[in-house]
Every structure is written in structure tokens, then in C-alpha cells.
């Protein structure tokens, strides 16, 4: 078994790529890893809202309601459209203005998050988030043009990371076993059976559970990594309640979800986090995951068993 592995900064966080194969040489795997790295760099250059020259920033500054998109930007816009439907309106990529008003206008890369326990102590009463009443409408037509209501801006956020991991996985030929993490959103697959993935604890950073995953994806959505103090002395984070446009305090600190793709895992994790402790387990029940509660409880949600039907010839 030949294995190559690399960690590198990407999309304001860290990427981690591990490729293994019995059918390819080390040099071939190195070339594939280089291709993955290039793709993640392209995704960042195109979809980062912290780069004024990225296509996402250019489109968001464009006042037109119909805008031509590159294939990658169109993928993000379609993913955002799909995520809103899949999450019942909880994962809403059009909250960029609210996010900036909450204090997340520039990258927080390299900044220490504010103290979690202090933030939790002064946070508003916990409640599940809700979808917005008036949805900011947008869609991507078959030719790759964005059609939107005036003023609609998109945020790549976690969707960009999940999308990046899935696109990178799609580059790899059959016979390569892979785990591609774009900032903690992972695409896993290839021959050799299931993957074990460690879930990092919000408070300690240490492993709190280990998931055994079928090919697909896993992602964690949480409030602690991007947590800051606002000028009025309160605290804010980047997971917003669409109904208020303000940070959601639901009683959960993080949710890890497994799914058929990294993008779907990202959407399920964020949906469950926003839905709150009562409904989160049901949201991620298909392939399972882990809920991290404010009181420190780690709740493991087992996925439904795989049923294989064997048809006699």
C-alpha cells in the first residue's frame, strides 16, 4: 500500500489530504495530491468572500439581477439553492449582510476565539432557529446565469468547504482510497472498506468519538471556532438564525453529520445545529453523527443500518 499525505493552509483553515493505493505509484499519488491542492486553491480564489478580487466578491458587488457565472461559482450558487430547500430554509446563504453586521466582515484566520463559557453565560435564552419569513430569491439557470432579487448576496461559508472536498474527491481515479478534509469537512471513499474519522471536542479539541463511515462525507458545524466579542460587550458567532439575522443559541455547541457527500454533511450538520437539541438527532438520523451539547454531553446518533438485498440469479 502506497500512501501520501499532506496538510496545508486552505480557505482560512487547514486542509488535510490522505491518498492510498495499491494500484498507483508514489509519484502518481503525489501528482494527484498536487491536483487536489490546486483545486482547493482555485475554490478559495473563486469563492472566498475575504478576497476582493474573487468571483464571489465581484458578483456580490454587482448590482445587476442577472449575472453570468463561471462553472465553479454556478456550482456554489446551485449548492446554496439546494441547501436552502434541503434544510427547510435554515441553511440560508443569503445572510451575508447580517453576518457582516454581526461583526464578521473580515477573515478571522489566526484569531483566537472568544471564551466560550463566558459567551454562553451571557447569551440569550436558548431556542431553535427558524427559517426566514420572506426568502431572498435567487436561482441559477441552465446556462449558468444567476437570477436574483435586487440586493441578494451569497456567502460561501461552510458550503464552499463541503463543495471543495467533493470536487477534489471527484478528481481521483478508481483504485485510490482517499480522505480529503477542507477545514474539517471531509470527503472519504475508495477501495478498502470504511473510514474511521475522529470527531474533535469543541472544548478540548481532543477526540470525543470515532465514526466509522461509508464512502461519502462528514462535516461538523459549530459555534465556537468563530466566536467574538461585539462592541456592546456581548458575543456573536457565525451561525445565524435566519429568522432574526442574529447568532443562533440553541443549546448545541456543534453537530457532526455523516452523509453521502461532504456538501450534504455540511448542510445536515448546520441544519441540526440550528434546529436545536430536540430535533437535531432526527435531522442526522440517516447516517448518524454526534451532538455536542452546551452542558458537555456528547450524544452519539447511530445511523440507520445499511440493508443490502441479494437477488438470486
Amino acid at each position: 500500500m502506497i500512501r501520501v499525505e499532506q496538510r496545508f493552509p486552505s480557505m482560512g483553515t487547514e486542509a488535510h489530504v490522505r491518498l492510498e493505493s495499491e494500484a498507483h505509484s508514489a509519484a502518481e499519488l503525489e501528482r494527484m495530491l498536487s491536483g487536489v491542492r490546486s483545486l482547493l486553491a482555485d475554490v478559495e480564489a473563486t469563492l472566498s468572500r475575504f478576497r476582493p478580487d474573487s468571483e464571489l466578491s465581484v458578483v456580490n458587488r454587482d448590482p445587476r439581477t442577472v449575472v453570468e457565472l463561471s462553472p465553479l461559482m454556478a456550482e456554489l450558487a446551485r449548492a446554496a439553492e439546494w441547501a436552502r430547500v434541503r434544510s427547510g430554509g435554515l441553511v440560508d446563504a443569503t445572510l451575508l449582510g447580517d453576518l457582516q453586521r454581526a461583526g464578521y466582515a473580515t477573515t478571522r484566520e489566526g484569531l483566537e476565539p472568544a471564551p466560550l463559557d463566558e459567551a454562553l453565560r451571557v447569551a440569550p435564552p436558548r431556542r431553535p432557529a427558524r427559517a426566514r419569513g420572506a426568502v431572498a430569491r435567487f436561482s441559477v439557470d441552465p446556462t449558468g446565469r444567476l437570477r436574483r432579487e435586487p440586493g441578494v448576496q451569497l456567502d460561501s461559508g461552510g458550503l464552499g468547504k463541503g463543495l471543495a472536498a467533493d470536487l477534489a474527491a471527484a478528481l481521483l481515479p478508481a483504485g485510490v482510497r482517499y480522505a480529503i478534509s477542507a477545514g474539517g469537512d471531509l470527503a472519504v471513499g475508495g477501495p478498502g472498506g470504511s473510514w474511521e474519522v475522529a470527531v474533535a471536542g469543541v472544548r478540548s479539541g481532543e477526540e470525543v468519538h470515532r465514526l466509522r463511515l461509508r464512502p461519502g462525507g462528514v462535516a461538523t458545524s459549530g459555534i465556537q471556532a468563530r466566536l467574538w466579542r461585539t462592541p456592546d460587550g456581548r458575543y456573536a458567532h457565525h451561525v445565524l438564525d435566519p429568522s432574526t439575522g442574529r447568532p443562533a443559541w440553541t443549546g448545541l455547541l456543534a453537530v457532526t453529520a455523516a452523509a453521502p457527500s461532504a456538501l450534504e454533511a455540511e448542510v445536515l450538520g448546520k441544519t441540526a445545529l440550528l434546529a436545536g437539541p430536540e430535533r437535531a438527532g432526527a435531522v442526522i438520523a440517516e447516517r448518524g453523527g454526534v451532538l455536542q451539547h452546551e452542558d458537555g454531553r456528547i450524544e452519539v446518533v447511530e445511523g440507520r443500518p445499511v440493508v443490502r438485498l441479494r437477488v438470486a440469479a
Binding site: E14, H16, S181, L186, W195, A198, V199, R210, T220, A225
Partner: protein, 60 residues
């Protein structure tokens, strides 16, 4: 000649001693038959691939 109980007991005892001496020799030579399937610790650790830390998912 009819075997007697005494001869039978002596034969059985002699056979027992021969087998016992053989097994004692094997054990002294490092070939304890009770441990035949076990591997020396060093060989086992060489055959097992080093454990890799699993990939990690975390909120970012």
C-alpha cells in the same frame, strides 16, 4: 508367555518416561509445543502496519 500386570505397568511407566524425556528436551530447546502458534513479540510488531491517526472533523 502370558503378560502379567507387573510387566504391563513397567512397560507403561517406561513409555511414559521416554515421552516425558522427549518433551523435556523440546521445552529446553525453546520449542514448547504448548506455545507453538505464538510469535515472538518482535516479529508481531514488525508485521503490523503502524497505526495512523484518523482524519479529524471539527468545526471551523
Amino acid at each position: 508367555m502370558q503378560p502379567t500386570w507387573g510387566r504391563l505397568a513397567a512397560g507403561t511407566g517406561a513409555l511414559f518416561l521416554v515421552v516425558l524425556a522427549f518433551l523435556a528436551g523440546r521445552v529446553r530447546g525453546g520449542h514448547d509445543p504448548a506455545l507453538r502458534d505464538a510469535q515472538p513479540a518482535g516479529a508481531t510488531s514488525q508485521q503490523v502496519a503502524p497505526q495512523l491517526a484518523p482524519p479529524v472533523t471539527r468545526a471551523s
